[in-house]
Symmetry: C2
Subunit: 419 residues, 2 copies
């Protein structure tokens, strides 16, 4: 159903558009901004004037030389997002621990901060408060006023319920249903949201190349588990309870090997690191502890063995690839994506999986659908998760907070121009 439209909507949408364009394409002259957004120069002058008055944007005073070689005409004055307008925070929760990344309104990040906080040992109702405490301490240390932080985004390895703001299950915790958003918001009085790793990587990819990833893309995350981020019509999809895209726990074979989730035959039970390790050890029974984290150097040893031609190791990777391939085939049958991206640390061993993935796709998917999908393996940078979280968080500010231009959102700011 459509929604009522009025001049309020027009203002919000165009202000949001200007902010997003500046965020994506860096400092831009008004004339360029007009060209990019489709708005007239007059409108750009008006909108940017307001944004400058509110301290969200400033006009750059160019260094003499910096500007491109001298041209005729009035020189451009470029506009940029004002870094001082706001701060935001990305929190990443994984088996490796909890990490904080502070960033300013322009998206510039501070050094990531690894918290000394044992997620396993912490009682679940203490988790939120402790993180909140660490945030306060670290913000103070960095000279960031807590009130200047306008939004927090949390990325979790595992299942994230975007509606309730809890973590129903994650390999980083023993307990279930860890409350995160609620306690952070309560203690810090800062709006907060939560999502899973794979979705954040999807966000980061869209930000990198909207043309390539902005349509319908499935981002398969290989790591300690198998995750999925779905980009549908250019937007990350969350599902009814914000818990879509559980590729890792999509069943592969009824009554297959035990999975960490307690079911049998999930994709992850074959294709995650522990599934591969179990197959290599040929121990499918109860004496293999699925909950134990697989050590990275053990995994590396196994990869080297497979590369050296070891049959047992090779078979384990082949099987993992086959199951992954069938999972992707099922995914393609349901979603018909134009692109499937493989990401995450698990792609390191993708050469060992590749052939069996391809073979499974051939067996499990009609040619018509297969031929229209582009596959891609993206090198995994650990920072992608924080980047994606920040992208999502800042977009929320651009669209839903600062785009409104309400009184409450005006940022205190000294002058109209800063260098």
């Amino acid at each position: 159903m459509l929604k009522k439209a009025n001049s309020d909507l027009v203002r919000r949408q165009n202000r949001g558009l200007v902010l997003e364009t500046l965020r994506q394409h860096g400092p831009l002259a008004r004339i360029t901004l007009g060209y990019q957004t489709g708005l007239s120069p007059a409108s750009i002058t008006s909108i940017s004037g307001q944004l400058i008055d509110e301290g969200l944007v400033y006009s750059i005073i160019e260094d003499e030389e910096v500007s491109t070689q001298a041209k005729r005409g009035r020189p451009q004055t470029r506009l940029a997002l004002n870094p001082q307008a706001t701060n935001v925070l990305a929190i990443s929760i994984s088996v490796d621990g909890v990490e904080l990344v502070f960033a300013d309104f322009s998206g510039a990040t501070r050094e990531p901060i690894k918290l000394r906080l044992d997620t396993y040992a912490t009682p679940k109702e203490d988790f939120g408060p402790r993180v909140a405490h660490e945030i306060k301490a670290n913000a103070k240390r960095l000279g960031i006023a807590l009130t200047s932080i306008k939004r927090i985004g949390v990325a979790v390895q595992g299942v994230a319920d975007t509606i309730s703001g809890e973590i129903p299950w994650s390999p980083a915790f023993c307990a279930r249903d860890i409350p995160v958003v609620r306690p952070l918001e309560r203690i810090l009085s800062i709006p907060c949201s939560i999502g899973n790793n794979a979705n954040m990587i999807a966000e980061a990819l869209i930000a990198t190349d909207r043309k390539k990833y902005g349509g319908t893309t499935a981002v398969v995350f290989l790591g300690h588990g198998v995750g999925l981020g779905l980009i549908l019509n250019g937007v990350v999809f969350h599902g009814a309870n914000g818990r879509a895209a559980e590729l890792g726990h999509m069943n592969h074979i009824p009554d297959g090997p035990l999975c960490r989730c307690g079911r049998h035959g999930c994709l992850e039970a074959f294709s995650a690191d522990y599934g591969i390790m179990r197959m290599a050890n040929d121990r499918r029974g109860t004496d293999f502890d699925v909950h134990a984290a697989v050590r990275d150097d053990d995994m590396r040893k196994l990869e080297l063995a497979a590369e050296a031609g070891d049959t047992v190791a090779t078979n384990a990777f082949n099987r993992a690839g086959e199951v992954l391939g069938f999972g992707i085939a099922r995914l393609i049958a349901l979603i018909n994506p134009q692109r499937v991206v493989l990401a995450g640390p698990g792609t390191r061993a993708y050469d060992l999986l590749k052939d069996s993935v391809g073979e499974a796709l051939r067996r499990g998917l009609v040619h018509d659908l297969r031929k229209n999908v582009e596959f891609e393996v993206v090198p995994f940078g650990k920072d992608m998760i924080a980047t994606g979280t920040l992208v999502e968080t800042l977009r929320h500010l651009d669209r839903d907070v600062y785009a409104t231009g309400q009184k409450g959102t005006v940022v205190e700011f000294s002058g109209r121009k800063i260098a």
Copy 2:
């Protein structure tokens, strides 16, 4: 990315909103329309005045008695969509043949027309032209001017490529890649679009009850095959090539029984009528012709046998239910819908499938996800497909054609008021 907004957008959106509201809630007084849309009475007067001038809407002259019991105050004059503004056409293509349903702008339909046209025997390049010819003939017979038909929607049993407008594969044809949209548009000069049955049923459900189905719903269609319509965030999802939701050809078991599509182990090969029949006949080998249509009375016999306790028949239905259950479990893991709807003629035997579907869901899906999904079997009316097609077609007119209020779209119309 956001889009530029201006008064053009406001006009389009609000005009569309008024049309959609009138379409959904029947004749409405201006005051009620204002309440429903959120627009002010002044705006409603202005917008409805234009729509009336353009002949899209008319104000009803109430019969004396009809109006509710006498109230004080100026009586309401209700507005309604003008049936004469436009005609549209829904075409349904299935193994049962081709059917036409003409409707006017208010959505009132004429009697469905079954074409005498053998889809199997018709060469694929003749199909479009023949249907076009039949449309001309039947429109003439019904006294509907061809130029009054502003849009055609086609629903297909099988795969529909919404982008190319062709039918890559359908049980109704021997050939593949049947062109449909292109020839119809060329011959009739009427905009045309195509989609699959399950999506049309999804559209019909949304129109019936937006609150119930408008969020994230998976509509599983059981019939000669197994189809799927995905409603994501209130909108039917089409995928990159308009070919999403191939639940029937989502692999269940690698190297399983032969499917009509030529692969092995597709869900449909177990759970469609021919899959069930094959299992009952216990002939999994090549001597069972998967391409032969299963006769409805044979299917009915099998159902009766199962209901009477026949083991072979019961086992066949159990197995079909189990596989369907695992398919739905995988679907839920990927999409996290709030509701799964089972529809189609195959639901007639749902009592025979129910238990094994439930059991498979228990085995194949983590409890967390399962508990949040509501299941529902909707009684299947054959008209749902035409209804859904018309809903989609008329919405397109409401939003994208008549909402613009361009000169070209003004409908010739005699007076401002008709009885």
